[in-house]
Symmetry: C2
């Protein structure tokens, strides 16, 4: 099976707000007022956590089906802790991003603990977002300047 | 400055759809119909890309202000390539997640190329989401079973 490409593009609508188009969908990323934003939607790191939960949900259902049980429900909580000093430029002692991420799954299923443990192990291995958060990924950032004089 | 915690929690609304609450915001994560979903919103990896773009926007404006120039506009495109075989369980030769992520910034600003290069370097260093994608982060996944008999 060949590779799949996913992409998102958009423009800033303020110093804290970005409107991203992903196919036909508009995703508004903002910051709370405490962080200088207009608080019209979730912030960037909340988007990351929501993507991780959504990914775990998809893979959780695929793997449950493979293992022959039904997920009657699935509750997911995910949280992360970061120190804002580096992003604010006030200290460079700590990394910029989450120092750790915790995801807790509460599945409702008529299944043994053994099967559930096996399910968890497979889900962890096959979740794309978990892979990208847990392991290193090449990230290439480029800039194509459009200076004021070129407008 | 002390650490900040961010969290998201929610429930599956189908085998592909997850409704996450981040503070007062509801983020719907789904999959396209081609992937077995109901295509009501962006998919998990598009959420990751949107979060990365939104984060770059916030840090881009903070750093521009520090360097003494105004971003008249900022366009961001971000894309990533993944092979779906591992997530589908058909092959384990490749990683589950994005193999690489490319982010392209098109800032509109009356600024020298030298300043823009410095801006880019600082933005890359201080963007939390770039850090979490590019570098390894401890991810702890736990399961709290709610079996059918306990309902």
């Amino acid at each position: 099976m060949s590779d799949l490409q996913f992409s998102v593009a958009g423009v800033r609508t303020s110093a804290t707000q970005f409107k991203a188009k992903a196919r036909q969908f508009t995703l508004v990323v903002d910051e709370p007022e405490d962080f200088g934003g207009t608080n019209e939607d979730a912030n960037p790191v909340e988007y990351i956590l929501a993507g991780f939960a959504g990914c775990t949900n998809v893979i959780g259902h695929i793997v449950a089906k493979e293992l022959g049980f039904t997920l009657n429900n699935l509750h997911i909580e995910v949280s992360g802790t970061l120190n804002p000093q580096r992003l604010l430029g006030t200290s460079f002692d700590q990394r910029a991003g989450f120092k750790a991420i915790n995801l807790n799954l509460t599945p409702e299923a008529d299944v043994s603990e053994e099967t559930l443990a096996k399910w968890l192990q497979i889900v962890e291995d096959r979740c794309p977002v978990k892979d990208n958060l847990q392991n290193s990924t090449p990230v290439n950032v480029t800039v194509a300047a459009k200076t004021a004089c070129a407008l």
